[in-house]
């Protein structure tokens, strides 16, 4: 029996949804608000919510003290580069695992995922030494490599589950219809796989954009992405909450805009396989 949707239930669930939505969004809102306060105002207890003297001074200071655009460019290169390389490796890998599995395919998938079960800090010293000896410290290429490798297992897994959902029958139908391997790829497989590939890569881009462990430990200035830029406003120079907030707001803005436009793809990507 279908549940009756009463007015009261509608009101309760609407209010609850807005409440929890607001709760989750509040820290981000608070950060954006703080970025427009003066440092003094940012410390005031009790904090003022909307009625304070609005100022954009923090943004100006942040921009003059460090080069936002350099870090933003680094972020784009590192997140974008690691995503592109991950795609080039993961698409064929997931493809062959989905469509030409061997007896060991399951084991390989599990083994790949198992590398994510170890805390990254466990391999910090060896990786740091490797980077140092290879001259990769504070280079964009080094960060591209480490982020790409770090996210690769998840990308392969996600793509594998997507490709698995493409019925074999359809590929066989294409073969019966006389499609060569190349045409089968171009006309049948790719159009069916593109939504899955797109949402996987989008997720990978966001993960790489926000990755803070390796970027903080392996870069300082030249190759430093926005995560390092934010961190530079926290501890060493004392707490500059307003400037930290301004830096953070600037750092998350691009990815927030991207995420906003791609939210449908993202939701589909994250819930894929769970609900059909």
């Amino acid at each position: 029996m279908a549940r009756r949707v009463t007015v009261r239930r509608m009101v309760v669930s609407t209010v609850a949804a807005w409440f929890f939505g607001g709760l989750i969004f509040f820290p981000i809102l608070w950060m954006v608000l703080t970025s427009f306060k003066t440092e003094l105002e940012a410390f005031t207890i009790p904090p003022s919510f909307l009625f304070f003297e609005w100022t954009t001074e923090n943004y100006a200071t942040v921009q003059s003290r460090s080069d936002y655009f350099l870090h933003a460019l680094n972020s784009v290169i590192i997140a974008g580069g690691s995503t592109v390389i991950a795609a080039l490796i993961a698409v064929p890998a997931a493809w062959s695992m989905a469509f030409a599995p061997t007896r060991r395919t399951k084991d390989i998938l599990l083994w790949m995922l198992s590398t994510k079960m170890m805390p990254a800090v466990g391999v910090l010293v060896p990786i740091y030494l490797l980077f140092k000896n290879l001259g990769l410290l504070d280079t964009r290429s080094g960060l591209v490599a480490i982020l790409c490798l770090g996210n690769l297992p998840i990308v392969v897994w996600m793509l594998f589950t997507y490709f698995k959902e493409i019925p074999r029958d359809i590929l066989e139908a294409a073969r019966m219809d006389g499609a060569t391997i190349r045409r089968e790829l171009v006309y049948v497989l790719l159009p069916m796989a593109i939504p899955g590939i797109a949402s996987t890569l989008l997720l990978n881009l966001i993960l790489a954009w926000n990755e803070a462990f390796w970027t903080l430990n392996l870069s300082t200035s030249k190759a430093a992405p926005l995560t390092v830029f934010i961190a530079s406003y926290s501890s060493p120079e004392g707490l500059f909450w307003a400037k930290l907030s301004a830096a953070s707001t600037m750092a998350i803005a691009p990815i927030l805009v991207l995420g906003w436009f791609c939210q449908r793809q993202l939701v589909r990507g994250l819930t894929f396989g769970a609900v059909k």
Partner: protein
Amino acid sequence: MGQITLQGVHKSFGQLEIIKDANLDIENGSFVVFVGPSGCGKTTLLRLIAGLEDVTGGQILIDGQNVVNVPPAKRGLSMVFQSYALYPHMSVRGNIAFGLKMAGLPRPEINRKVEAAAATLNLTPYLDRKPRELSGGQRQRVAIGRAIVREPKAFLFDEPLSNLDAALRVQMRMEVTRLQKQLATTAVYVTHDQVEAMTMADRIVVLNAGRVEQYGSPLELYERPANLFVAGFIGSPKMNFVAGPPASQHGAATIGIRPEHLRIAPAAEGAGEGWPGTVSVAEHLGSDTFLYVDAGALGLLTVRGIGEIHLRGGDRVRLSPDPARMHRFDKDGMAIRQ
């Protein structure tokens, strides 16, 4: 032309032998049905013909040419899949046209052929829709359209009607048969449904555990089953088997009597003749009456009577087999011919 010949075809997956020495001659223009219980290898045999699986041994000849090393597309066959396997991102037109496009036909010719195929299958109003906007029956038609538009040497059908509801299945059954006769193209059709096999086929191949048990016309299989398996598989309700003394009376290890060939009479009259028993369940369908009779040591026997028979559970009856329609089998389960 579409003459398909299988010579000593074997197929193994690792240690597992799926097809054991299949020899068949499928004549041009005939409708041949592979039937058998699930796991008997009928779909594998079809896929071997299609080229979607490679044979382990033996030859497959299409119009006299051995095709075991020819890729599926070059065999000139087309296939209708159980899941329809339509291209979800293409319109109905795109789906039907795909094979022709791959063959590199000029666009006007493709359009002409697609429209002709769509008209044959009443799909013209749906040409610009996507598969997800169609009903199950319409999708099935698109899958068939995709197969006929290429004018293949033979159609291969892999349980194409099993996803449809009962009424639609009967209707599509007739449509497929009619279409096949109209096009006079060889068809190989896989099903586990013996009613489909009996109604559609010119000839039936009964498969069991990777072996061809019998190959013949529907009535041949019904009237002269080669062995116990075929006798039990073809015909509904199933044939009754009786072993022991009643069988040895007829010089056989087992005798088989179809439910429609058992005469039933109330126990009182003609005492001493026939097998005594008690009706355990009676199914009254109006047109037929199915009686499940507990015949003691002989086991549960099924009787099919035409029209309404006024018997109920618990009634005592006598059953007498029609000797002319009795099937006799030796101790290996093979039919004994007169």
